[in-house]
Symmetry: C2
Subunit: 637 residues, 2 copies
Amino acid sequence: MECRVKFLPLGVEVTVKDGTNLLFAAQEAGVFVNSVCGGEGVCGKCRVRILRGEVEHLPTAYKLRDSLASKGYVLACRSLVKGDISVEVPKEAALSGGKILMDGETSSRGQMIVARNMREMPFEPLVRKVRLRVEEASVASPVADYERLRTALRKALKRPEMPFQIGYKMLRQLGRKLREKDGDITVTIGKRQNTYEIMALESGNKKAEALGVAVDVGTTTVVVHLVDLGDGKTLGMEAKYNSQIAYGEDYITRIIYAEQNDAFGKMQSLIITDINELVDKLCRRLKRRHDEIVAVVVAGNTAMMHFLLGLDAHRLRREPFVPVANIIPPIRALEVGIKSHSRALLYPLPSVAVYIGADITGGIVAVCMDRTDKLSLFIDIGTNGEVVIGNKEFLACCSCSAGPAFEGSGVECGMRATKGAIESVKIERRGDSCDIHWSTIGNRPPLGICGSGLIDIIAKLFYLSILERTGRFNRTINCDRLFIEDNVAGFTIVRKGEEKAPHDITINEIDIANILRSKAAVYAAIKILLSQLNLPLEAIEQFYLAGGFGNYVNIASAITIGMLPDVPHDRIAFVGNTAIAGAKMALISESALERIEHIAHKMTYIDLMMNQQFMDEFVKANFIPHTNISEFPSVSI
Amino acid sequence: MECRVKFLPLGVEVTVKDGTNLLFAAQEAGVFVNSVCGGEGVCGKCRVRILRGEVEHLPTAYKLRDSLASKGYVLACRSLVKGDISVEVPKEAALSGGKILMDGETSSRGQMIVARNMREMPFEPLVRKVRLRVEEASVASPVADYERLRTALRKALKRPEMPFQIGYKMLRQLGRKLREKDGDITVTIGKRQNTYEIMALESGNKKAEALGVAVDVGTTTVVVHLVDLGDGKTLGMEAKYNSQIAYGEDYITRIIYAEQNDAFGKMQSLIITDINELVDKLCRRLKRRHDEIVAVVVAGNTAMMHFLLGLDAHRLRREPFVPVANIIPPIRALEVGIKSHSRALLYPLPSVAVYIGADITGGIVAVCMDRTDKLSLFIDIGTNGEVVIGNKEFLACCSCSAGPAFEGSGVECGMRATKGAIESVKIERRGDSCDIHWSTIGNRPPLGICGSGLIDIIAKLFYLSILERTGRFNRTINCDRLFIEDNVAGFTIVRKGEEKAPHDITINEIDIANILRSKAAVYAAIKILLSQLNLPLEAIEQFYLAGGFGNYVNIASAITIGMLPDVPHDRIAFVGNTAIAGAKMALISESALERIEHIAHKMTYIDLMMNQQFMDEFVKANFIPHTNISEFPSVSI
């Protein structure tokens, strides 16, 4: 039997077989429903409301509150379609335009550092157009066309030993192109490992039309910059959520999905379609053509890079966790389906290991850690937290599973940093009540709380002694916002109806425990890396906090909850999306790519997975701010 | 009106428009008719006999003898089809299996030198299969697949710094292939300029199946060797006439034809079809598959290389005579249409200039001139004569137009070195008559005289004082074989009917003048090159005579007529087809290719075209043996 499933408020309808999983039906309809756990019935994020018709319920580990269940809410991943139905996808479960970090905007000090580093890179794009005059051969010097062209290129670029390669098609055009305008020719050359490929020949001056694309393929978001390769300026940028999210919020879940459904090809095409969609948008807006795009540089974690390139990702989730390749030579962008010039080169930035991807190697160069004497520490927090310590002498890194709590998962009222998410909070105690001031992304009615909001709330509640060091609420105080349900205490941030809130927005002890586990993992990773390197915390002169998350978090709150170590605030710089910055740097400067490759080669990776010391540190960090409060002298208990 | 043209003895028929040129009709029918001058009515080689029907005669510079004209002979290139006709293509105008030099057969001392050089090359084929065991990654060392593969390859080849490249398709197979047989893998790697490409991955041992092809594309002949890249042995060889011959015997004529008929594509496909035909034959005979062929190395003169690769050949025949490229990077063999493995690489050997092609650079390495202290002189005589002098310290070269006389053109009874050609002659004078002993190629009834026969005849007639130093017959002697027609003296070698000769086979003063011009050009080129280098003839310790022509010529006769300088015979080695030898050396030894490239870079080219001294030497050499007889002390006058 066929059933029609209608998704509201979008109004999209899809016809599926009787018994089809509702989450799968949503995927089929192209309707995004959060599914952090990938359909395992654990995260509770895929709750939708059945407005009309019936579904069959499967057993589930995550139990919806009765108040929700009674209103028709179900977990989409644990519901089977049984007849025609209408389904409402609540705003907090859907994806909408959020605070995707498209660039280091120049607001913060850290982002200004990245912008300055970008400007100071030698300008030598990976693919560039060079206008030349190639003198005609003479009887006295009957030098072949290709040899004269090479000599002219070497002279123009002041690189007398520059090694070139040329393909069959270019060679066949060479004689004619060289003479169409009497030796006035624009040559597109592209770096290919240790040589330069002659990629295109145009008679006369075509310098204005070389475009490059920098891409950051994140697990959650895809960001694209369209760059003028003539001057290195970003002409425009666009971002969207990674369409793979429908198949799991973390890459492990997506690999499992792909394995079970033979869907690696689908995973690849989802990313490619996302990139093309963003590039299309930019081209339309800026009135440029796809075939002007001659270079594409992609940053992303190792799994995203495997998906993008259609590489075998099976082993990324299995011991001993090996990628197919960390350092991948450039390939033709068209070969993977990115709409561009027929010979455009796609440069995947290199990674270090499964857990230290090209987003990190690119980020290191974006903040210039590899060029300074100063010891710096770089943290990129997403679902995983990556930590790098070093300077121009050495670089060492590790990665921990921070878990998706900072992205709202495992937190009842948690949500992504999208419109309507509470991102910062002020709380004042007034007797038995609290005054709460909060702000949401996009100034929309509040729907839930995103990572920075959660950190703020926990820090402030702790500061007001409403929350104890263990992450449990102080049950001895009187506060009308405190409540206890099934022995779990909670605190109401927004009451239903207040500023059009559709329901109560709360935080409870289970939510807080999840957040503390996430921050503990990050903090323990920092501690272990320092300890392995025999470095005291004080030796670190500069902290870089990267990633979409890092840009909006309140620094004092992050130290208060013990996520960041207790160092002077001026040592901490929020550097924004350094993955896209690294991709763009490589795009406009071949020496940046060389540095990134060098980093991928030389960076020491320290595995925490089996490290007992890490487990100890992790347990000790599961407090506010920490078991050992002497590590946080600035946090008053 | 349509006319049917039937060509005998093949019996091939073609339908053409009324007024079609008969030579063109033959080309359309795929019937080869010699056309040295490319249809200009000058060489007289395209004579055919009209057996039935009529043709319209165009004015012609070359006048057929009345005795021939009365029998229905016409020049095909100056005849227009006017109705249905039958045409006989005489044997001497057709091509048939001749003495195509497929290899330095090990008969002569020179050929043994080449064979020894081949054996002494380090065995490291340009494309090779390497069998490896790539250990699985471990938790302790979770190295990516590609990095482990590279490390294993570098170790197996004892090249710790070996730079690699890998394409998108290979990368996508890597994870799976590596594990199909637990890390037991055979990798095909191919040299690509300064890196090695990973071209194919096969699980387990597939070492036996790597084949390479060495090709010599000559203006006249195409030679192919099929080589086992596992041990460097030639498994088989085949040769045929270059099908382009139908469009002119020299490349200039072919370029003109291609320009006038927009037929560069056709020129390319003719060569490719020839190569494929020979490779097909070898594959069938040896029961091998085309997809086992992973490397193709091609030697050939600069024009043939341009035709083969479809490069713009217009400027090869126009001042200042510039090739599109001398040093051409490898391309995919399939891209030009050579049937082979989908990623097989085609390596065009590099050339020095329009007149010094890859046949010469390859030849130099075949004789190892670039590695010895000994000063050597290398001559390759075909339509052009190329001369190289040097040793491991320096190499200098020049080229002269020897003309096609040695290939039988411009000589009334001249013909190619094919079956039925007189290739050597002994003459004894007995009073007023001569006893003549001659041998033909294939011991067939005599049809004409090929180059080595012409040299022999001139030397012997001169020795017997029948011929004077000027190239004119001594009209004071009585000899029943001497005749005079229209004031031009001639000499009958074979009388019609003798040993089934279809007609008289003669040589006259015009023929001899043509031969003398050819040998004078070669000798003058040697003289000028020595003089430019300030070297006396005695400084040359070794002479290498290469090319199809050189292999059968009588050395004493060649000195007698003044084609070769008068040096001790043991200094002269006939080295055979060194172009194919050079191609094979490169195929099985990357250091040979490096040496050839080095030669192409460093060899000094001396242009004789505008050289007045060359003209003077040329005029002085237009005698037997030379104006200055002191240069030929061993030749008794």
